[in-house]
Amino acid sequence: MAEEQVAVARRAGRQLPWARAVFWLYAATLMLPLLWMFGMSIRPNEDILGSFSLIPQRTTLDNYRTFFTDPVWYSSYLNSIIYTSLNAVMSLIVALPAAYAFSRFRFAGDKHLFFWLLTNRMAPPAVFLLPFFQIYQSVGLFDTHLGVAIAHMLFNVPLAVWILEGFMSGIPREIDETAAIDGYSLPRFFLRIFLPMIRSAVGVTAFFCFMFSWVELLIARTITSVDAKPIAATMTRTVSAAGVDWGLLATAGVLTIIPGAIVIWFVRNYVAKGFALGRV
C-alpha cells in the first residue's frame, strides 16, 4: 500500500520534460543582475567606467576595505541590523498573545479587528511620512534605533499576527483543553507547551519581520539623520558631487544581501507558507 502510494506520488509529481530546463534557465537569468553587481564590487572604478568587459580584468578588495574602515558605512550597516532585530523581537512579543487570542477565542469585534489590522499593511508608507517625522521628534524617538523599530511595527505587527494566527490555527485546540484539564494556567501552558510547538512559526515570523524591516527605506530614512541612519539611506546619499562611486555602491549592495541570504536558508521550507500569511 505504502509503496503504491509512493509510486502514485512519483507519477503525480511528473512534470513536462522541458519544464525543469525552463525553470533553471529562469533561475540563471534571475541571478545575472546579482552576479553583475558582485562583479562590479570587486573591480576598481577606473575599470568599471573605462572598459566594458564580461569578466573582470583586475580584481581588488579595495571597495570592501573602504566599507569596513569608513565609519559612515559600517556604522549604518550596524544600525540597520540593530533596529531590524529590535523590531522583530518587539513585533513578536506583541503579536504572539494576540494571534493566540484570534486563533482560539471569539470575542466582541474580533473579525473586524483582524481585518482592520491588515488594512495597515495597505497603507502607503508615504502617507505616514509627515506625521512620523513630527511625532517622533516630539516624543524624542527621532533618530534612535528604538524609534525606527517602533515605526516598522506599523506593517510588521499586523503581518506577524496574520502569519502566527495561520500557523496556530493548524494546531488542534484539543491540546489546549487537555492542558487545562491537567491544571496548566494559560500563561504557563503558552510558554511551556504551546510556544515550543509553534517554534517554526515563530522562526518564520521573526524572519518576515526582519526581512520587511530590512528592505524598507522610506520611513527609516525619514525619521533618522545620523545616529540611527540605515545602510540604505547611506547608499542613496553617497551619490554625490564627485559622481557615483559605482564600486563602493555595488559593494554595499552585495553586503546588504548577505543577512537575508543567510537567514532564508534556515526557513527555506516554510518561506512559501509564510508569504501566504500562514494559510496555505
Binding site: 503525480a12 512534470q15 513536462l16 519544464a19 525543469r20 534571475l30 545575472l32 543582475p33 546579482l34 553583475w36 553587481m37 567606467l49 566594458f52 498573545p97 494576540a98 484570534f102 486563533s103 477565542f105 471569539r106 470575542f107 466582541a108 474580533d110 473579525k111 488594512t119 495597515n120 495597505m122 502607503p124 508608507p125 508615504a126 505616514f128 509627515l130 506625521p131 511595527m153 506599523l154 505587527v157 490555527s169 494546531i171 507547551i193 515550543p196 510547538m197 517554534r199 517554526s200 524598507e216 527605506l217 525619514t222 545602510i231 540604505a232 549592495g253 546588504t256 537575508g260 541570504a261 537567514v263 532564508i264 536558508w265 527555506r268 512559501a272 507558507k273 508569504f275 494559510r279 496555505v280
Partner: protein, 319 residues
C-alpha cells in the same frame, strides 16, 4: 504529545491545514468551527491595539488634521474644510500620476501572476534541488528595495551594465533609461517583474504542494493531459493563494516608491513618477502639509477600496 506537536508544527508547506477541507477565506473562523466565546481575550489583543494605535491611528489622525487646515505656522492655521481634497482631486499632475500608477499595477498583475504560476509549476518538487531552487527564487525578495534599484540602475546602463550594453551593442537597439521615457518605463517594469514574480511563484508553489495526490491519480486514470490536469486540478486549487498574491501585488505595486526612485527618480520628465514618489515630493520636499494630507487620505482610500473589491470578488466567485 511532543511527538505529535512536532509533526504538526513542523509539517512542510501546507500539510495540516489543508486536510481541514473547507476553502479558506482568511477569516479566523473559517477553519475552526466552534471557538469558545471569551471577551477577556481582548486583554491578549490589547498590546497589538496599543502598538497599532501609536504607529497607525495617531499618525493617520494627524494627517486628517493637516488635510482640513491651511497651516502657515504651528500657531497660525485656518480651517479650510474640504478645500484641499477638491484641489488634489483636480490637480492634473496628481491625476496623471494616478493613471500612470494604475497602468503600472495592471501591467504588473498581468505579467507577474501568469509568470509566477508557470514558474511554480516548473519548479522541482523533491530532491536536494528543491532547497536550492527555493533559496534562489526567494533571494530577490530579501534584497533591500533601494539595492534592487541599485542593481538595475547598474545592470540596465548602456555603458557599464550587462543588460543595457547587450541591448545596445548586441541587439543594436538604442536603449537609454535616463533619456527615453519608454525605456525608463520598461526598465522599471522588468525590475518589478524580477523583484516580485518570486513572491507569486512561492505562493503558487505552496498551493501546488498542498494538492493531495489522489487528485492526480484520478486525473491519470481519466487519461488527462498535462494541460487539462493543470487547468482543472491545479489551477482551481490555487484560488486561495492567488487571491493573496493578487492582493499583495496590487497593494505593493500601487504603493511602489523606492525602486523607481533609485533608478529613474521619477523621470525622465514625469515618465515614472508614481503616486508615492509625487506624494513624498509634496510632503517632504515642499512641506505642503494641507495638500499632502488630503493627497495621503485619498491615496489610502483608493488602495483600501480597490483591495476590498479584489478581495470580495476573488473570494465570492468560487462559492
Amino acid at each position: 504529545m511532543t511527538e505529535q506537536s512536532v509533526t504538526v508544527a513542523g509539517s512542510p508547506v501546507g500539510g495540516e491545514i489543508v486536510t481541514g477541507a473547507a476553502p479558506q477565506d482568511g477569516t479566523p473562523d473559517s477553519r475552526v468551527s466552534v471557538k469558545p466565546k471569551n471577551n477577556r481575550a481582548w486583554l491578549l489583543v490589547l498590546p497589538v491595539v496599543v502598538s497599532v494605535a501609536f504607529t497607525a491611528v495617531i499618525p493617520l489622525m494627524t494627517v486628517v488634521n493637516f488635510s482640513v487646515q491651511d497651516i502657515f505656522s504651528p500657531d497660525d492655521r485656518i480651517f479650510v474644510g474640504l478645500e484641499w481634497f477638491r484641489s488634489v482631486a483636480r490637480d492634473p499632475e496628481i491625476r496623471a500620476a494616478f493613471v500612470r500608477t494604475l497602468l503600472f499595477s495592471a501591467q504588473v498583475l498581468l505579467l507577474e501572476i501568469p509568470l509566477g504560476v508557470a514558474l511554480a509549476v516548473a519548479m522541482p518538487r523533491r530532491g536536494v534541488w528543491v532547497s536550492v531552487a527555493l533559496v534562489i527564487v526567494a533571494l530577490p525578495l530579501l534584497i533591500p528595495w533601494n539595492v534592487v534599484g541599485t542593481i538595475w540602475q547598474i545592470f540596465a546602463r548602456a555603458d557599464i551594465g550587462l543588460g543595457g550594453w547587450t541591448i545596445n551593442n548586441v541587439l543594436g537597439i538604442d536603449f537609454n533609461y535616463t533619456l527615453d521615457s519608454t525605456d525608463a518605463w520598461i526598465t522599471v517594469l522588468i525590475m518589478d517583474i524580477w523583484h516580485w514574480t518570486p513572491l507569486v511563484a512561492l505562493l503558487a508553489y505552496a498551493g501546488l504542494r498542498s494538492i493531495p495526490d489522489p487528485y492526480f491519480q484520478a486525473a491519470q486514470i481519466d487519461g488527462a493531459s498535462a494541460w487539462s490536469t493543470f487547468r482543472h486540478i491545479q489551477l482551481p486549487r490555487l484560488r486561495g493563494v492567488l487571491t493573496i498574491a493578487i492582493l499583495l501585488r496590487f497593494m505593493d505595486s500601487f504603493m511602489i516608491y523606492t525602486e523607481p526612485f533609485v533608478v529613474t527618480g521619477g523621470g525622465p520628465g514625469n515618465a515614472t513618477s508614481f503616486l508615492s514618489i509625487l506624494l513624498s515630493k509634496v510632503a517632504v520636499g515642499q512641506f505642503d502639509l494641507g495638500p499632502a494630507g488630503a493627497f495621503s487620505l485619498l491615496y489610502f482610500l483608493v488602495v483600501q477600496i480597490v483591495s476590498y473589491v479584489f478581495f470580495t470578488v476573488l473570494t465570492r466567485s468560487g462559492r
